[in-house]
Symmetry: D2
Subunit: 350 residues, 4 copies
């Protein structure tokens, strides 16, 4: 008997419940909380401070070689509501990754999709299916599902960045596959521009003709450089006149998000601005690139500083306030919710 | 401290692990089994026999009124691998529902999508957003996400049917919403054909013009009648010459499955036929409408008879054998896997 | 000098115009009617009577063997506004085709797409890329672009039907290709149901799984039988309560018209009903399957009887009146206009 | 009798032909050239030299005020094969437009879509539905269907540019609509960046969030600046290593061409390079932005210099040779052919 056995004071019903359990059946009418008016969410709002993250990442660098037990020196942000699971929310994995000078995190690939957002520093490059991509502050680097990737730090400085994966979703769908690759001791350098950027990253709406190959499920542009993002935010602010700009990173060749499961966005708030209160289904991971301010999430308030990372649970009401000009990177599972027709959003101040 | 605390014999490392736990962080290099070569699946292959299901459903009818604790008299098929969760697989809910003569299961709606497949009997009708739909053996009836639905049994016989929902997926995405409706004591009858059938169920490729309204996320045809399904299987058998026919239920107006999260199919095997061994990511619930045979799932073999229900876990190798002509209804989460680019399939005899 | 030479009383301008013409240039400011407030349409409303069409088709059968000069015994309906062009409208070809007992129109294919609508009789079958399709009253048979097709009359009666092609559009785009095929002296019979029908014509929303092959640009269902169409109209009338039913023939597997360039529809008006006045961009060919009534097109009125064919020019206001129950088949270039974002429509009584 | 009357030496047939003509019918078996093995194309290959175009445009500026008879001072390139029609090909209108200092071409809109490619100069700005867009050498400026547009030359120099429209296609579909707008005596200046550029023209894949409004049928980015295009070509050359780069201008937010009917591309060939011989259905207008070389089109060869414009008819074999580094802008009706499943292409050297 492997299922849950319900009990009843009514002997006949109790006897039925025994039989049900013996046949791997459960009575719906005894269950609680299956269908609730609004989502029952275990993920809680939380913020990890930049100071703690950097200190503990550095300490891990002192103590743990890159090859101890795994391929990556990574600290997973574990949501306090999730009973010890190493996930920042019910649907997302977030972590800080730390690489010392001269280190290399070897090649592998997996069906969970990943992205890196660089909160500080530079010097590391990632090789994505053979294409080396340098990483620097403010850059967004994609590691789409089933792409081989490895990280090299040929420089003199250690580097830390934010990793986000859709691992809980892929694991929940029983669809995790993993494969190790072969990292040759590659030349310890990367060109200023990756192949992906040369072909797809030049100008808005300019797409190469005659580049063949299978249609990928993700953006063919795998890195979004901060210089571009920053300029776009500046121009949107010029245009909007509201002190707020909000952009989405997209596949430049198709009408879709950068990867099938993850949406990426950037918000800029001028000092003194605050965003409207809103909520959505699906959870979001946010990282402060620069500035100070605060995040209100349901009835919690978190002060924000550069390098902080925080999580907004599904259907939580949230808003941002900028004390100084504030740049926040946001990634979420919104494409999943949208594709399954489960996305709901509400603007509470509208 | 709410997260998992790792330990180490190395005192420095152990001290780091304490600090990590205090800051809701976990060291990746200590984790096992996060990224596995192929999916780690808890769902196990299992079959529920028609005899048991009917007997226990009827016994529930004797003992439990329709309004005890909930709106529905439903026995959930609980997978032995899932530690007592009331789910048939990691992603699907399956249950038998039982309605006595004169009973009514009142109106509600929820974001999890549901479908009914009728293994036997008739006499009940469902009201779907105001449109009454009769239910009889072999029919597939949809209850798309957020559609009000209620069940009426105005006849003299009790009736039992199979319910399948995507509840684990929607719950895992923190996107369950629920609302009670108002069931008026409606006239105790339903027309032979629902509005949905008159408009969308007449002939292949014939679609009404001038029927306005919002574009639904699901098929506008909400019932697929057995007479049509049976005839289609017969014609496909004529055509194929292999003793096997396989059809998919689809939105007749668009290039998509019947609902955003659930695929529905029907297979017919002539006596003596057996299907090729195959596997896919995502799990599937199968119900035997008629015939006898067996299902091989990984290293298990289950005898099959009319009314039996069985589950195929993600990435399990499976095949069907028909002793007598065998008709099997199959529903799966394949649209979810496909939309997220996580669908993989393999034909092992090809 | 091959272009038009404009002239002017102003000698300098006249001299410029000479030079322009010498260099294959024309001055816009001298042109008239290029950009008009509403479309300047040469196609005029017109009706061809069934009596004339049948008599002249039969007379052609007496005098012209099937192989005289061409492959087909076809009379093209030539719009009186089009200066002798053999087209029923600026964008459509329509014709009656006549086949004597024992005759065969040999196989060929072409990039213009064709359809047949059978106004009367039966006995002929068409072979579409190897799949024989019987033809009878009320059936719509597709001959998609670049499909080999041939017509056989193995019976004892001659047969006549309506052909519609998108030839003017394809010719205007300089995209006409043509190829002769090989017609073997096939067995002089066709099965009751074509392969296309067995696979795609059974029930609304039922689609075969495992039928491989390239994705065609058109509906995989190539014949829509009158029995189905008639029943669908009947059910829609039950539903609508307005005395009018209107259906569209669609690809049953995708969200699109039957072919990339041609839309097909059927309207039924109960005796006494009249449709609302409407107009659209693009032209339409209409054929009366049964009943009597009249068509108002701009300021013209045409009496209608079974077998009559009429044309509605682009942007003409039109409506139908039924004296007796009226069934009208309609085909148009609407998919072309829609794909190019040039479709406009107006309901003038709304 | 308004249709063509065929004749025959056979008196019976001749009598039938009389009757056919009286009833607006034509016998297919007497027609020639309707369905040809490959397209019968009237458009001929042709080139207009920059020297002639500029001289005659300037001369028109001397003699013709902007308001004579029409709104625009435009010289239409008239294909020598098209019997005096003012079209550069069977499907495209191309022209040079000339605006003197201080002139203004007033606002109007029409369903034919237009684009401007600037071969030389600067100083004019176009106002597109209220958004002023400056124009300079190498820029591509869209005037999508039914957008109000007007041109202002507030500077001290006259300016000339290339206009291309899909007018023959829209006229052939009887879908030309036209409306005059109101041009206020706007401030005689335009900002460096249009609203369209600020929102959609910043970086590849960066799209604003929260910009509402109806979904247009065309790219929301209405100007593609030469600086971007030039840089993209440079990077593609770095990448390709073949001495050739080829890019397409696209809607940066969706998987489609810039407008529903027109494709825009740019090719760069290093000195000495030549492209492979190819052909396509549909016609193309090409303009040399810089460099020298030659175009082979079927059996014709045209020398090319900056400012030259040439036309490639449907299904003509064509190739480019660069003597000096050659930049060529190309626009075609390929989206129309593709949407109607009539696009064919062939690489003859592959």
């Amino acid at each position: 008997m492997s299922t849950k056995r319900y009990t009843s004071h009514d002997p006949e019903l109790n006897s039925l419940y025994t039989q049900l359990a013996e046949h791997d059946l459960q009575p719906l009418w005894e269950m609680q909380g299956l269908l609730t008016k609004t989502p029952t969410v275990q993920t809680v709002p939380h913020r990890w401070s930049s100071t703690d993250l950097r200190r503990l990442a550095a300490r891990s660098g002192d103590l743990v070689p890159i090859d101890r037990g795994g391929d990556r020196r990574v600290l997973a942000l574990s949501n306090p509501g999730l009973a010890g699971a190493p996930y920042i929310s019910s649907t997302l994995w977030a972590a800080v990754q730390f690489l010392l000078p001269g280190e290399m995190a070897p090649a592998h690939r997996h069906t969970p999709a990943a992205l890196r957002f660089i909160l500080d520093g530079d010097g590391v490059y990632t090789v994505l299916d053979g294409d080396p991509v340098t990483m620097a502050r403010g850059d967004l680097v994609l590691t789409p599902a089933w792409s081989f990737h490895e990280h090299h730090n040929p420089g003199k400085k250690s580097m830390v960045w934010l990793d986000v994966l859709d691992l809980p979703i892929v694991a929940g769908l029983d669809a995790v596959f993993f494969e190790e690759g072969t990292s040759e001791k590659a030349d310890q350098s990367a060109a200023e521009r990756s192949t992906s950027e040369r072909l797809y990253g030049q100008g808005s709406g300019l797409v190469p003709v005659g580049v063949d190959g299978p249609q990928p499920a993700h953006s063919p542009l795998t890195v979004y450089r901060w210089a571009s993002t920053d300029q776009a935010l500046t121009r949107m602010l010029e245009q909007s006149g509201t002190g707020q700009a909000h952009l989405r990173f997209r596949d430049p060749t198709r009408d879709r998000d950068v990867m099938p499961t993850l949406r990426c966005e950037m918000r800029r708030l001028r000092a003194g601005a605050k965003s409207g209160r809103e909520r959505q289904t699906g959870s979001r991971v946010c990282a402060v690139l620069s500035g100070t301010g605060q995040a209100d999430i349901d009835d919690r308030t978190f002060p924000l500083a550069a390098g902080d990372i925080f999580v907004v649970p599904s259907w939580s009401v949230h808003r941002l306030h900028a004390d100084e000009d504030l740049d926040v990177f946001i990634t979420s599972d919104a494409p999943v919710l949208e594709k399954l027709s489960l996305y709901r959003s509400e603007a509470l101040d509208a």
